[in-house]
């Protein structure tokens, strides 16, 4: 009995050892190439916490923060709404069970993969000089990001729906759009709302830094403060960002648990 099992067992062990070796080798190479050092990290950490201790919030900065804060939230909101609208048709074209045909499905998936391969900050950096510095490149960058991420998440949800109702509707002679509206949408509605809220959370966080590359919002103020070494202002800004992101995360988590 033991003999036939021995070979696969050895193969399995070799695979485990091989995986571990590759993992450790990559770790070593990455550490060498980036000059990673625990000593530097230790001294750096002291400076890091020292920086926070030196931060002495000057609450008068608040009056300057409200407007860009509102802008940041509006950029995130617009990006989420436009991105969701653009994602809607792609979601169903990229899912095997609702697509029109195989070539269309692969085209939709390829477009999504290509879009997703570029990070949102890079989009904003490219778009800022083209669309002129301000909130507009931020909105466009987050729209693209939302579209790609949401379509990916949602099409996985669409592909996981109960195929029974789809078959039932196909049997009644309903076309593709009606099958989607009557059998897929009711099944994915709650999950989709949850995903949209989640992407909005990510977008709020992202839009606080988009200003670093000139795409409007709080980030732009952050750059100004940094340039003037205004640590009292930066302190207030960090606290505000922290509070807002925490608040939106909490609200979104609350709504999502209520939905599912």
């Amino acid at each position: 009995m033991g003999q036939p099992d021995a070979a696969p067992a050895i193969a399995g062990r070799l695979r485990t050892i091989g995986t571990a070796a590759i993992f450790l080798a990559l770790l070593w190479v990455a550490g060498r190439q980036t000059d990673f050092s625990f000593v530097d990290l230790w001294t750096g950490a002291n400076d890091f916490f020292g920086f926070f201790l030196r931060l002495n919030p000057d609450w008068r900065a608040l009056s300057q923060i409200w407007a860009p804060l509102l802008e940041t939230l509006q950029i995130a909101y617009l990006g989420t709404v436009f991105g969701t609208l653009l994602a809607a048709p792609l979601i169903f074209l990229a899912s095997f069970n609702t697509t029109a045909n195989a070539p269309v499905m692969w085209i939709a998936r390829t477009i999504l993969t290509l879009i997703r391969s570029i990070p949102d900050l890079l989009y904003a950096a490219i778009l800022a000089p083209i669309l002129s510095i301000g909130p507009l490149p931020g909105v466009v960058a987050l729209t693209i990001f939302t579209m790609a991420v949401l379509a990916k998440l949602a099409s996985e949800t669409v592909e996981a729906v109960d195929p029974g109702p789809l078959e039932a509707l196909r049997a009644t002679g309903a076309g593709r759009n009606r099958m989607i509206v009557y059998s897929v949408l009711p099944q994915i509605g709650a999950t989709m709302t949850s995903y949209i809220l989640y992407v909005f959370e990510i977008n709020v966080r992202a839009s606080t830094v988009l200003g670093l590359v000139g795409a409007g919002g709080l980030g732009q103020l952050l750059v100004t403060y940094l340039n003037f070494f205004d640590y009292e202002g930066i302190a207030v800004l960090i606290i505000v960002i922290f509070a807002v992101v925490l608040l939106i995360d909490a609200a979104s988590v609350y709504i999502r648990t209520r939905l599912l």
């Binding site: 029974g164 109702p165 039932a168 049997a171 009644t172 002679g173 309903a174 009606r178 009557y182 059998s183």
Partner: protein, 256 residues
């Protein structure tokens, strides 16, 4: 009238599900198809609405080929063929009436039905269909709040909302307890009689096949191995269809 001419189905994995089926079912007949799992029963009834596409042969409904139909023509043919399923296939999060109205989607104004707007006559037909299966009071309840038997009745109502001339039932009572199974079968039979609907039912259970069928078709290995009246379908015949003895250990009669 449904005609099968040399119908062959091969699945992508190479499995031959139907091996040259020839069958003719006159209008209004209540036919029960029996056989083991994998005998080809589900495949056979799915060729009638082209959910399964044969590699050879032709299935005709009232003289029109379903097999060769495509696009809008196929959807029109399907809209006249109701279908109910073992797992009911309702949209569980939608209301009962919305599930029944889905039966109207085959021949309806595209834009309006996408917006959820149905003609008064469609809504009336949906309520009437629920009335006929005995659950008119459940119209605005969510489908997943119903019992299994009630969900299958919604399935029947959805099919009835199509005003079908043919009804396909794929193991309609396999997920139900015996008393519920019988009441669902009685409903199916009664509706088939009242409306003159040609009905094809896949069943596992011998007793039920004998009790409700006008005609029994036995399948084994993708072929028809018996075709006759319930009286002709003796225990010997069933043993031949199932390819084994009917004994207590392998009881396939089903409890009453």
């Amino acid at each position: 009238m449904i005609e099968f001419h040399d119908v062959e189905v091969v699945y992508p994995n190479g499995f031959k599900a139907l091996k040259g089926i020839n069958l003719e079912i006159p209008r209004g007949q209540f036919v029960v198809i029996v056989g083991l799992s994998g005998a080809g029963k589900s495949t056979l009834i799915r060729t009638v609405n082209n959910l399964v596409v044969p590699v050879a042969g032709d299935v005709r409904v009232d003289g029109k080929s379903v097999t060769k139909a495509t696009g809008g023509e196929l959807r029109r043919l399907r809209s006249g063929i109701g279908m109910i399923f073992q797992t009911f296939n309702l949209v569980k999060r939608s209301t009962v009436i919305r599930n029944v109205l889905a039966g109207r989607l085959g021949d309806n104004n595209a834009l309006l039905s996408l917006l959820g707007i149905f003609a008064k006559s469609d809504v009336a037909l949906a309520h009437e269909s629920l009335q006929r299966v005995g659950i008119p009071e459940k119209a605005f309840v969510r489908a997943d709040a119903l019992s299994g038997g009630q969900q299958q009745r919604v399935g029947i109502a959805r099919a009835l909302a199509q005003r079908p001339s043919i009804m396909l039932a794929d193991e309609p009572v396999a997920s139900l307890d015996p008393p519920t199974s019988h009441s669902v079968m009685r409903d199916l039979k009664r509706i088939s009689r009242e409306d003159g609907i040609t009905t094809l039912v896949n069943l596992h259970f011998i007793d039920m096949a004998r009790e409700y069928a006008d005609r029994i078709v036995g399948m084994n290995g993708g072929e028809i191995v018996f075709d006759g009246t319930p009286d002709e379908a003796t225990d010997d015949v069933f043993e031949r269809i199932y390819g084994r003895e009917i004994d207590e250990e392998h009881d396939i009669r089903g409890a009453a």
